[in-house]
């Protein structure tokens, strides 16, 4: 209710300001002498509640209390947990997620780590021994399932010999002579389940695959496997890849680059503050406020059990951008009012009176904008919606208590507020240009918006993890090596339900599955498929002198029995359900492009009826690519809903604040135009809309609404005292200056991230910087264009810029 009261109080603000109009007109208006010497009256005091008054009346108590709360919230940092896994990202009622879970339930879908051993020839004693040693060593790696390690040294093989059937492993013992090596080559070449899947056709690469337990710790596995790779490398080359490794690579890449670049970005942002204000306090106070905001927010995450994810990892950056925006507006007002007040307390109070309410409003709208992320069905984005909303509210609270409290203790600055003449000239020129060339600007904007809308249609959806890395990154090299020489690193599981107990042993079902797998292999991006069909075909060929005739039901059952007798339960249950009513087809993919996966998924669904026409055979899709397909779908659905909701929230907030439909619609203008431009640019230059870029909306809305509200509140306040043209120019020069400081320091800071070698960080950095620039320009150009009243004379505005 307190918030509502404060918001509604704003409606009275223009009226209060109007009381000062007469005296306001008497002020000399010039670039050098203009200052916001508006006397604050006790009447406006009621806007701020006693809590905020306490900050400057009892500054030491306030600071002590804030310090105590900071210590308390810092306690939450130790409770912070990291969630790297994508498990649980999708809603439980999602059909794709239900399919993934159903496949997991029956077949125990596993994440698989792949170790590739690359040598001149893997058929050498040294290389073969390393395959054996690596397979043994992998069984000691935490979370690796010892009976689900697949390599030449663990896999059972059935090969025909003149005397009968050889049923051992490929590398139970090292071949002793050339004939034995030739036999091994021949066994591998004759086993379709091994050639191209475990061993490359050119004999230079072999794979050791290890399945991981559910709930594995990606970091622990990554470290242990990397250690093995280092130990066994040389002269052979050891590659490590697989979805868990790639995800960890992404996580480490983002975290590593973030750790390197974000501090530099933050330092640059605050150097920007110094350049803006030319005072140490102008830097230290925002720094203190931003650090406190981050500690409070991350402490809240710890206490609330919200983990650090690939999304919430971006929190410090976003908090720096948004929280420093609050601080910069406060400090800008503080320095402007400095020469009007003799004591720190009076100056703090005046600053709070002048800028407190717009900051409160922008804090609330930013929080609501962040809360709009709750519309996403992706867990980490929903969580970030909550974190952002709470974080922005906390930052607002800290800004409105910490900064006045410190300012109240400081002596008012002796020097006048720093004003950059160049910036003032630029702002003036921009405003004049906007006002004088309305039609041309509107035309240009319409053209830009049309172009943006066109390119938005071409935005690619989903994250291509492989393309995240630079070309020389070991994770990318490994994945590309596997894609080029073997069957690929990504996999889709298709569970085919025969709808009857033991149904997969039926020869008709087997034939259908056989045709279905051949169909899957006809896709260029499908490197390999693997199911019990391959086991049965291999045994059939070896037991029947190489025949490729399809077996009958009895043979299928007995070949499967034979497989059971030599394979581990893990291998058996990876292919068949307990009741033999479901079969799992593993589809290995050479592409990591989520849109290729999506198209393949849709094609298979459309074509399945050709192979299983009875109508009672259902396909269920699982595997790591399905997670990404579902994530992509939700990102698109959620993004559209999120943008609409965020704009709606901003609109409704502005409607409450301004009590005017046109003004509220106007508040949406720079945000909407900036959103269209950023997404249009993404479509034009091929930046994908993924989990991390989805956050850009929150940033654009969060920062954009700040700029819009500050501009509009400033304008309407000035409008009470002066004509439209004069108010536009006056506001653009003064509120515009704070907006410019904010935008410039953020642009400088976030541009640093574009030097990252890691694509998501790079894109995030420069898109963020570009977004800041666009919001700034759109605010400072579109509002003068929209607010200008042509009939009015411009003399007042010109007077402002005329030296005394």
């Amino acid at each position: 209710m307190k918030i509502r009261y404060n918001l509604l109080s704003l409606h009275a603000l223009p009226q209060k300001l109007s009381e000062r109009v007469a005296s306001r007109r008497a002020y000399p208006c010039s670039l050098q002498t203009y200052s916001d010497t508006k006397p604050f009256t006790p009447k406006t005091m009621h806007i701020f509640q006693p809590l905020l008054r306490l900050s400057y009346i009892r500054p030491k108590t306030t600071l002590l209390a804030l310090f105590a709360i900071t210590l308390l919230m810092a306690g939450g940092l130790s409770r912070l947990e990291t969630r790297n896994s994508f498990d649980g990202e999708l809603p439980t009622d999602d059909p794709i997620n239900q399919g993934i879970e159903a496949a997991k339930e029956v077949f125990g879908e596993r994440s698989v780590v792949l170790i590739g051993l690359e040598a001149a020839s893997i058929y050498s004693p040294e290389a073969a021994q390393k395959v054996i040693d690596l397979s043994n060593a992998l069984s000691e790696v935490p979370y690796v399932m010892p009976d689900e390690i697949v390599s030449l040294s663990t896999l059972a093989n059935v090969s025909q010999r003149p005397w009968g059937l050889e049923t051992g492993g490929f590398l139970d013992t090292l071949p002793a002579d050339e004939a034995a090596w030739q036999q091994l080559r021949s066994d591998v070449a004759g086993n379709g389940m091994v050639l191209d899947r475990l061993v490359s056709a050119d004999e230079s690469l072999t794979v050791i695959a290890a399945a991981l337990e559910d709930g594995f710790d990606g970091g622990v596995v990554y470290d242990a496997v990397s250690k093995l790779a280092n130990h066994y490398a040389d002269p052979e080359r050891i590659h490590i890849t697989g979805a868990p490794v790639l995800v960890e690579d992404v996580q480490r890449g983002i975290s590593g680059d973030s750790r390197r670049f974000i501090p530099i970005a933050i330092v640059l942002i605050f150097i920007g503050f110094y350049i803006s204000f030319r005072r140490l306090a102008g830097v230290l106070l925002p720094v203190g406020m931003v650090i406190m905001s981050i500690i409070w927010t991350m402490g809240f995450m710890g206490y609330a059990g919200l983990p650090v994810t690939v999304v919430s990892n971006a929190l410090p950056v976003i908090m720096v951008a948004v929280a420093s925006s609050y601080a910069i507006h406060f400090m800008n007002a503080y320095y402007r009012l400095a020469d009007q007040h003799g004591s720190g307390t009076a100056l703090a109070e005046a600053t709070l009176q002048k800028i407190g309410l717009p900051i409160l409003i922008t804090g609330l709208t930013s929080a609501l904008g962040s809360a709009s992320l709750l519309i996403f069905k992706i867990t980490s984005l929903r969580e970030f919606g909550i974190i952002g909303a709470v974080g922005f509210l906390l930052a607002t609270f800290i800004c409105l208590t910490f900064l006045p409290a410190v300012c109240a203790l400081l002596k008012p600055p002796a020097r006048k507020a720093y004003q950059s003449a160049a910036l003032q000239r630029f702002l003036y020129a921009l405003t004049q240009m906007a006002q004088n060339h309305r039609r041309a600007i509107i035309g240009a904007y319409l053209l830009l918006i049309a172009t943006a809308v066109f390119f938005i249609g071409q935005v690619k959806i989903g994250d291509d993890y492989l393309k995240f890395f630079p070309k020389s990154h070991p994770g990318r090299v490994a994945a590309e090596t596997f894609n080029d020489r073997l069957s690929g690193v990504r996999n889709m599981d298709i569970v085919v339900d025969a709808a009857a107990y033991g149904g997969i042993k039926d020869e008709r079902f087997f034939r259908s599955l056989n045709d279905f797998q051949d169909y899957l292999l006809s896709y260029q991006e499908v490197g390999h498929t693997y199911s019990y069909r391959d086991v049965v075909q291999h045994l059939s060929a070896n037991l029947n002198d190489g025949t490729d005739a399809l077996p009958g039901s009895a043979e299928i059952a007995q070949y499967l029995m034979l497989h059971e007798m030599s394979a581990t339960p893990g291998e058996v249950f990876a292919l068949r359900s307990e009741d033999d009513n479901q079969a799992r087809v593993q589809v290995f993919l050479k592409s990591s492009d989520p849109e290729v996966h999506q198209a393949l998924y849709e094609n298979i669904q459309a074509d399945a009826a050709r192979f299983f026409p009875e109508g009672n055979t259902s396909l269920t899709f699982g595997g790591d690519v399905m997670h990404r397909i579902a994530l992509g779908t939700y990102i698109v659905e959620g993004k559209v809903q999120n943008i609409i909701l965020a704009l709606l929230i901003v609109f409704l907030s502005c409607l409450i604040i301004f009590r005017s439909l046109p003004k509220s619609l106007m508040a949406l203008l720079p945000i909407t135009v900036s959103l269209l431009m950023v997404f249009g640019l993404m479509g034009m230059i091929g930046i994908r809309l993924g989990i991390s870029t989805a956050l850009l909306t929150a940033m654009i809305v969060g920062v954009g609404v700040d700029f819009a509200v500050h501009y509009l509140v400033g304008y309407f306040r000035d409008r009470e005292e002066m004509g439209a043209t004069e108010a536009i120019t006056h506001n653009s020069l003064h509120t515009g200056q704070a907006i410019a400081y904010d935008a410039a320091s953020n642009i400088a800071g976030f541009s640093v991230l574009s030097f990252s070698g890691f694509l998501p960080v790079q894109h995030f950095g420069w898109l963020l910087a570009l977004s800041m620039l666009l919001i700034f320009i759109n605010t400072l150009v579109l509002y003068p264009v929209m607010l200008r009243q042509p009939a009015r004379q411009r003399t007042a505005a010109e007077a402002i810029l005329t030296p005394n």
Partner: protein
């Protein structure tokens, strides 16, 4: 006189002197048979709880080649679609064992390479090395140390440690064995790998006499691989020991023509 009686009383009332090797010798005698038939149902249970159950009939006959070499015929009787699938193992004292596979769908036997000690028996958690111990513990290959007496499932047992002698190739770095005092059957075993980590546990329960020849057998065994989480449970019934098994059945001809 009193001293003499005292000594005699002491000798008569002292517990029977036993050591690891003699305990294991008694165990080997208790498990050794001339022939054995029976039906067994094994269930493989994966770590995630998925089960696979098969029933087969076993025929075992001691050969003339050595005291502890056997011929084994295993014939699946359920599920129906694999009924008749059989494996024949002919153990040899001086040369490699022979193994044959018969698949009814092919109506012919195929010779298959002999299983290695570490190979899994019929896909269960029991290896061929465990199986040979089940028929006759290779006591010359191990050094046994009697540790304590300790009950297993309420039955008194000797606990021993079995360490492989130098040069013996085995999957296990050591085993802890519990030999049932009354029947000298293996009641429990802990198998450790070469790094000293527990690998598998074996438990035998439902120990009952078979026929009137003084033989006992556990009617349920459970082998759990603690490293993989997989388990095999075997239920036995219709044991017949030393009641005569026709030698002719241990041939490929018999499998193909019966």
């Amino acid at each position: 006189m009193i001293i003499a009686f005292t000594l005699l009383w002491a000798v008569l009332t002292a517990p029977a002197v036993t050591d690891g090797t003699s305990t294991m010798e008694k165990h080997r005698q208790a498990t050794a048979v001339q022939d054995l038939t029976g039906q067994l149902t094994y269930t493989n249970i994966s770590k995630s709880g998925r089960k696979q159950t098969r029933t087969l009939r076993q025929h075992i006959l001691r050969t003339d080649e050595g005291e502890y070499t056997y011929n084994l015929l295993l014939e699946f009787i359920s599920p129906q679609d694999v009924a008749g699938t059989s494996t024949l193992t002919l153990q040899h004292e001086q040369k490699d064992d022979e193994q044959w596979l018969y698949l009814p769908a092919l109506r012919m036997s195929k010779r298959i390479s002999p299983s290695k000690k570490s190979d899994r028996f019929m896909g269960t958690e029991i290896t061929y090395e465990d199986l040979s111990g089940y028929l006759s513990e290779p006591i010359d290959d191990y050094k046994y140390t009697l540790m304590v007496e300790e009950a297993v499932n309420g039955r008194p047992a000797y606990k021993l440690e079995a360490l492989p002698r130098q040069g013996v190739r085995t999957q296990y770095g050591k085993r802890h064995l519990w030999i049932d005092k009354a029947t000298h059957l293996m009641a429990k075993t802990l198998f450790y790998d070469h790094k000293g980590k527990l690998l598998k546990t074996y438990q035998a329960t439902d120990i009952r006499p078979i026929g009137s020849g003084g033989h006992y057998r556990a009617h349920q065994i459970k082998m759990e691989n603690v490293q993989t989480g997989n388990t095999t449970v075997v239920q036995y019934k219709d044991f017949a020991i030393n009641e005569g098994v026709e030698a002719a059945i241990f041939s490929t001809t018999w499998m193909e023509t019966r």
